[in-house]
Structure formats: C-alpha cells, structure tokens
C-alpha cells in the first residue's frame, strides 16, 4: 500500500494559475506515487477543477512545475499530456454516441491492417483485452448510445488505459453512480493500482476517499492545505481543513412550528422511474428528499412541478389538485422549482441578470400586454439587494456571475413570485463555501416566515443540517422517513442503500 519508490510518478510542485485578477490556484504541491490512489479533496471553488485542467494540458501553469519521474514536463496541450501518460476522466463522459465502444476507445488511433485500412477485428480484440485488464466485460461492437453513466466511465477508463496511462485523474467520478457502480469503480481503481498506475481521485465526498485511497491532499481557496497518508487523518480533520470553520455555522436553523399542509402528494407514480410516492409538506417546514443519485428524487420533483407527466397519483397544492404535466398551472398555484442544472435549466445564460430575474414574472410586470422595463429593473434590483447579489451591472449577462451568484439569480426569479412552496434541487451544488452559507441563511429565513420547502440534496451534512423531516428514496420508492431528531448519517445511508438498520450496541 505504500509507494513503490521514493520518486513520485507525478509531482505537482508549487503550481499557480490565475485568470485575470483572480488566483484560481496558488502554490499547490502534492506527490502522486505509482500504485497509489490519492484523494484530492476540497469544497467547490477550492481550485480542484483548474488543477485538473493543468494536469490535462488544457491550461498552462503560470508558476511552479510538474515533474514526471523527477523530470520537469510542460504540456503544450491535451495531446501532449496524454502522450506523457496522464489521462483525465472528466465527470461528464465525452463519448461518440453513434460509434461503437471499441471505436470510441481507439478513435484517431485505430489499429491498421493491410494497406493502412482499419483492422476492425483487431480493434475489437484489443478493446476486449483492455476490458479484461479492467476486470469487466463489455461488448466492443455495441454502439455507445444508451450506455449508463457507469458504463460510459468504464469506456473512458479503457480509453485511458489504451493510451498506456500511468497517471489517471478521475474528476468527481462517483457523482452519477449508484452504490453498486461505485463499488465496481473502486474495484477498477484497485486493479489499476496493482498494475502500477497512480490514480488521482478528486471528490468532495469524504467517505469515498477513505474507502479507496491511501493518501489525501486537501485544498481550500486555491491552496493545498495538507497532504498526509489516509491513516493519519480523521474525517473531522479533513472537514476542518476543507471548510476552515465550524460546521454548525454553515447550517443555521430556526425551529419553526409547521402550519397547514401546502403540498399533498398521494400515490404518485411514473412508470419505470418511481412508484407509490406519498408525502406532505407544511408551511414553515423543510422536507428533504435524500437518497443516492438515480434514486428518483429529481424525477419526483419534476413530476410534482409538471415538467414530466405523471402516470398516476395526485398532487394537491393548498388543497387544489394540479393538472398533469402543466408547469404553468403549478406556478399559478404557488409552486416554484429551482432546478438541478443551473446552466441549462435554471438560467438563460446569454440573457441579462434582470431579464433572468423577471423571466417567470413577465405577466405581472406588463401593462396592456407590454412589458414595463422600469418594473422589470425594479424587481431585479429589489431581489438583488435582498439576496445580496454581487454583480457589476444589471445589464450584464448572468454568465459573468460566479456559481453562487447565479444561484441567487435563480432564487430571485422564483421568490419574486411569492410562492407558497419552493422545490429546490441541489441548492448549493457548485457553489463556494461562503455563498453556501448565505443560501442556507436565506432558506432558513424564508421558512421561518412561512414558506414550505421541499429540498433535494446529495450532501448529507446539508440534509441533516437543514431539514425538519427527511424522506429517503431508494430505486423509486420511499423507504424511510426520519424526523430531524431521529436522522443521522448512518441511518440515512443505510436507508438509501437498502441495508438493514444496525442493532444498537
């Protein structure tokens, strides 16, 4: 389990990178040893993505050096870094859906046969060989379209191996995997290590780092805070280094007496996705939907809001039943949905800040059918100040804002409608720590004023910190319900993964 030699396979030494006035990465150093899995932990905004891009050759470092086998290297581009033996597997697999798995692996480097023509049989054989090395079996002639995310990742890893990668960088690989698939991924990592590769495992999920890695580096605000063998650190150490402050301050909670029922979901069902979903959310309470990725939580939210049509069941808001599949009706009934994917679903990136804030309220802002620009501006300014939005000009496009401020714009858009129910899907994903706390404060304040909130989150600390009640989904069904007092990490994880509860010692 310890390094096979004292020279790291890849050494990141004092690397810095700035974009304009902003220093994304400053003086980061850590070693990657052959045969070892190294976890790079840090909150969103810590600089991990920028570092990955430097390793991938997409960006050039401004300062510091990368050393492979002790020798300094400079990557002029992604091809150069790949040639040096560094392969990056991004969170979003980038495959060619219309081509076969084998061709995806060997695109641009197909094995050639007689007369420089592609040797398909040979290509399929080599693909199978790589899969065997990984300990999986996948049909190389299968077209890539329709592969599950886990399978797509395996193809990406196979691609990396076929490049004879000695360093594999995996950026948030488990974000979209089910529990079983995560286990399989860990097996693959073990196999890679046994073959002498170094794996850089980037995540913000601590338990996974502990489960699969031998060394850990923690980043915060663009710097590397600490590097240590995994056995020398505890989870608390890590959290403290990542966050730099006490955990409690992140989750302000005002205890409120819940009022009447706002959302009443009964026997909600969507064929093949979720079944038999029934729950209620009352004024002044936060109900969290917890569970693993793929459990169906976002799908439930989409069906409640009407983006997807439900197969059966009813949704009642303030007593009135919502028609099936009509988001506008849900909105008019007082429902708001802050979606999971901010850039594609939550905002129109090329529209200005004020136009985005006003997008769901245009009817209200019009007179005689014409939009009153002054009302629009006023609405945006009001909410920008209430949410403490940091921006330079209201007319700028939202793409100029940071992730946290973009989320505030989405919130502003929906809060401007004065909803009675706010459904919020992954409220703080991709947001820096500071803004995270602000968003939680905002939610807490609104709930205290009587808003009903249905929150979907994959961050257990967030669920535990914010929710009054937690419903756990697993494979499309509600498997457990916990009150705030009853819920803890262990019981939630067990319900989410289907393990039986541990008998209290």
């Amino acid at each position: 389990m310890t390094q096979s030699s004292t020279t790291p396979l890849l050494m990141v030494r004092d690397v810095s990178k700035s974009f304009g006035a902003v220093a994304a990465v400053q003086g980061v150093s850590f070693p990657l040893y052959a045969g070892e899995a190294h976890a790079l932990l840090g909150e969103n905004g810590a600089g991990k993505s920028t570092l990955v891009k430097i390793l991938a050759g997409v960006h050039g470092a401004d300062g510091g050096a990368l050393l492979m086998d002790g020798e300094p290297v400079v990557f002029k581009g992604p091809a150069a870094s790949r040639a040096a033996g560094v392969s990056v597997i991004y969170q979003e697999p980038t495959l060619f859906p219309d081509l076969s798995v084998a061709e995806n692996i060997f695109m641009g480097r197909h094995p050639l046969g007689v007369g420089r023509r592609i040797d398909r049989a040979g290509m399929n054989r080599e693909a199978t060989a790589v899969f065997t090395r990984l300990g999986v079996q996948l049909d190389p002639e299968r077209v890539a379209r329709g592969l599950s995310v886990a399978d797509q990742q395996i193809v990406e890893i196979a691609k990396a191996l076929s490049f004879n990668a000695r360093v594999l960088v995996m950026d948030e690989p488990t974000a979209a995997l089910t529990n079983v698939e995560v286990e399989r991924l860990f097996e693959v990592i073990r196999t890679l290590r046994a073959q002498g590769a170094a794996v850089l495992f980037i995540s913000h999920r601590l338990e996974e780092a502990f489960a699969s890695c031998q060394r850990v580096t923690i980043m915060r605000d663009g710097r590397s805070i600490r590097t240590a063998p995994i056995e020398d650190v505890t989870i608390d150490d890590i959290i403290r280094s990542m966050v730099g402050r006490d955990l409690d301050a992140l989750f302000p909670k005002t205890v409120t007496e819940p009022g009447e029922v706002v959302l009443d979901v009964a026997d909600l069902c969507r064929g093949g996705v979720f079944d038999d979903i029934s729950f209620q959310v009352r004024r002044g309470e936060i109900v969290a939907l917890a569970g693993l990725v793929g459990a169906g939580r976002t799908e439930v939210a989409r069906a409640v809001f009407g983006i997807d049509r439900r197969t059966s069941g009813t949704v009642r808001v303030n007593g009135a039943e919502l028609p099936n599949g009509q988001p506008l009706a849900a909105m008019n009934a007082g429902v708001a949905l802050v979606p999971e994917d901010r850039r594609q679903q939550g905002l129109v990136m090329d529209m200005s800040i004020d136009q985005n804030v006003a997008l769901a309220s245009l009817g209200r802002l019009s007179r005689f059918g014409l939009i009153r620009r002054s009302s629009e501006r006023e609405l945006a300014t009001t909410w920008a100040s209430r949410l403490q939005l940091k921006f330079s000009r209201m007319g700028n496009t939202v793409s100029t804002l940071s992730g946290g401020n973009q989320q505030k714009v989405v919130l502003g858009k929906w809060l401007a409608r004065n909803p009675s129910l706010l459904i919020i899907d992954e409220p703080t994903r991709g947001i820096d720590v500071g803004t995270k706390a602000e968003v939680h404060r905002i939610l807490d304040r609104l709930v205290a004023q009587g808003l009903a909130v249905l929150m979907i989150s994959s961050e257990l600390p967030e669920v535990l910190g914010m929710a009054d009640r937690v419903l756990v989904l697993r494979e499309g069904r509600i498997t457990a319900e916990f009150t705030r007092a009853e819920a803890d990490e262990d019981s939630l994880m067990r319900a989410a993964t289907g393990q039986s509860p541990e008998v209290a010692a």
Partner: protein, 346 residues
C-alpha cells in the same frame, strides 16, 4: 467495508445494438423497398421490367446518387451543402462551352475541368465554414445564389445544344456494358470507393466523430477544421463531376441545369438513413435512397399516375422517413438503456 451484493444483471447480448447490424438493417430495408416498388409496378405494367426501362431507372438515379455521396460526407459532420445543384449547372455549362469552342478537347480533360470547378467552390464553402466559423447552412445558401448568378452571367440566355458536344463525351450517357449504362457504372464505382474509404480509413472515421460529438472530437485531438474542409471539397468535386455527367446524359445545358437538385439530394440522403444531425449513415444507404426515390418517380409514370404527383409523394416520403428514423432511434435508445449494466464482471 461491506460489499453490497446485487444480483448480477442477466447477460444481454442484444444483437440489435451492434453497429454492424444497425447499419445493414437500414440498407437492406431500402433495397427491399426498391424491390417491392419495382415488383408491384411490373405486375401492373410489364414494360417496367424491360432492359431499356431499367437502364433509364439507373441513369435517372445516378446523378442524384453521385451528389448524395458528397452530401453524405458533409451531413455526417453536422453540416449541409446547399450549393450542389448550382455547381452542377455551372460546371456543366463551363465544360459544354469549352467543347463548343474547342471541339477537339479530350473527354478526360473536360471531366477534369468540371471536377476542378466544383472543387474550387467546395473549397470556398469549406474555408468559410471552418475558418470564419459560419454555419454551413448560411454559407452554402449564399454560395448557391452566387454560383447561380455567375452561371447566369456566363450563360447569358444561351443554350449549349447537342451538336456542340463530341459524341465521345455523350457516349457516357448511352453506352452500356453488359447492359448497364456507363453512367451508372461510373457512379457505382464512386459509391463503392467512397463506401470503402468511409469504413476503412482513420480520417473518414474522424468525420463520424465530428458529427457525433464535436466537443469530444476536439478533445480527442481530431483536426476538425481540416476534415470538414475536405468533406466540402469532395462534395464540390463530386458535384462538378455530376455536372460533366449531366452534360453527357442530357447533351444540352442552359441556365436552369441542376436547379433544385440540392433538396432532392438531401431528401434522398435522409431517406437513405443519413441522420440530418450527423454522426451516422452510409454512402451506400444514400445511393440506395436516391435509387428508391427515382424508382418511385418512374413507377408512378409507368403506372400512368400523373407525373404531377411526383413532388407530393417525394415530400410525403421524406417526412415519413424522418419520422420513422426518429421512432427507430427512440426505440433503440430505450432498449439499449434498459440493458442496464451492460457490462459484466469477470
């Protein structure tokens, strides 16, 4: 660390998901449709199956099939070439005019010039699309106008008539080999060569990659600009060749030659299984699509259905083809997705 055991997913070796079978199925389907239409029409009108009739069938489809090869290459990369029809007209006229004034010009030279004219226009299309980053719909649309305009200026209302064209050249239009017209043979050779190249060479596979996922293609280091440029170059060159063959076949050309071809070609190509969004399809399928459309046209004539119905039927057919393709791809995606965990552990 507890290992969560889940029942291993049943091995799902669905042949329908394999690349080869997906491709073959489409081409076989079109071939079958051609045979069905042919068979039904012959039952109605025995003359349809006579040699002369079949030759006419092949010749009619040949030019569109040839244009279809180039158009397929372009569409696979998620682009479109709307200028092919006007290129046909221009190159046909230029070669015809040259023959008129230089009777002794060798046939081969005429063909080479035609290809060169087409290639030049294709190169401009390719350059503007890749370097200036202009959507190809707009570029080739503009080029259509410009080329038609240039053609009109050069033609100036005249017509090149059969007398001006050496018989050696027009021989291509009516000579046969074992009963198959030379024109059809030439096009068949081009289709076969292109089909082989598209399957067997790395740079051709790049075209599929570019259309299937342009971002991934860039990440994989594929020189997209160069490849797309080449696709337009070839499309233009083949359109130029088609112009020469047009001249040989019809033995005359005026300002309207080739007009409207681009839409017919796109219809043929889409019917032939080339996805309008790029990333998939074969030149063989495109050629078969051209044959199918032309067979239907001729079948209508042979069945004494007014030829006025051609356009309506072609339009309806194209709509049916894209609707069918969409239904098919939805079904395939659904069946592929349900084969969850397509991998097994060893």
């Amino acid at each position: 660390m507890s290992v969560i055991t889940a029942p291993a997913p049943a091995p799902t070796d669905r042949p329908a998901s394999r690349m080869e079978s997906l491709l073959r199925a489409r081409e076989l389907g079109i071939a079958l449709a051609i045979l069905v239409v042919f068979g039904l029409t012959t039952l109605n009108n025995h003359a349809f199956a006579q040699v002369a009739s079949i030759q006419q069938l092949l010749n009619g489809a040949a030019l569109i099939a040839l244009l279809g090869v180039g158009e397929t290459l372009v569409i696979i990369t998620r682009n479109v070439d709307l200028s092919v029809g006007s290129v046909v007209g221009l190159s046909a006229y230029i070669v015809g005019d040259l023959f008129k004034h230089h009777h002794g010009m060798p046939v081969l030279l005429g063909i080479v010039i035609a290809i060169a004219v087409g290639a030049t226009i294709g190169a401009v299309n390719g350059l503007v699309t890749t370097v200036a980053r202009v959507p190809s719909l707009v570029v080739t649309l503009a080029m259509l106008y410009i080329v038609r305009g240039v053609d009109g200026v050069i033609v100036h209302g005249t017509t090149i008539d059969p007398a001006s064209i050496p018989t050696a050249f027009t021989a291509v239009g009516y000579q046969t080999l074992f009963g198959i017209p030379w024109l059809a043979l030439i096009v068949a050779v081009v289709v076969a060569a292109a089909g082989y190249a598209m399957r067997s060479f790395r740079s051709s596979r790049d075209l599929y990659a570019i259309g299937s996922n342009p971002d991934a293609a860039a990440l994989a280091g594929i020189p997209s600009g160069r490849r797309v440029f080449t696709a337009f170059l070839i499309s233009g060159a083949l359109a130029g060749l088609a112009g020469a063959l047009f001249l040989a076949l019809h033995a005359q050309i005026d300002v309207s030659g080739g007009s409207g071809y681009e839409l017919t070609v796109i219809a043929a190509v889409v019917v032939g299984g080339v996805a309008i969004f790029g990333g998939s399809g074969t030149v063989l399928g495109a050629a078969l699509g051209a044959v199918l459309l032309n067979t239907i046209n001729q079948a209508l004539v042979a069945s004494r259905v007014s030829s006025f119905w051609n356009g309506a039927i072609a339009g309806a057919l194209l709509l049916a083809a894209i609707a069918f393709d969409r239904w098919l791809s939805l079904r395939v995606t659904r069946s592929l997705r349900s084969a969850e965990g397509a991998h097994r552990d060893l």
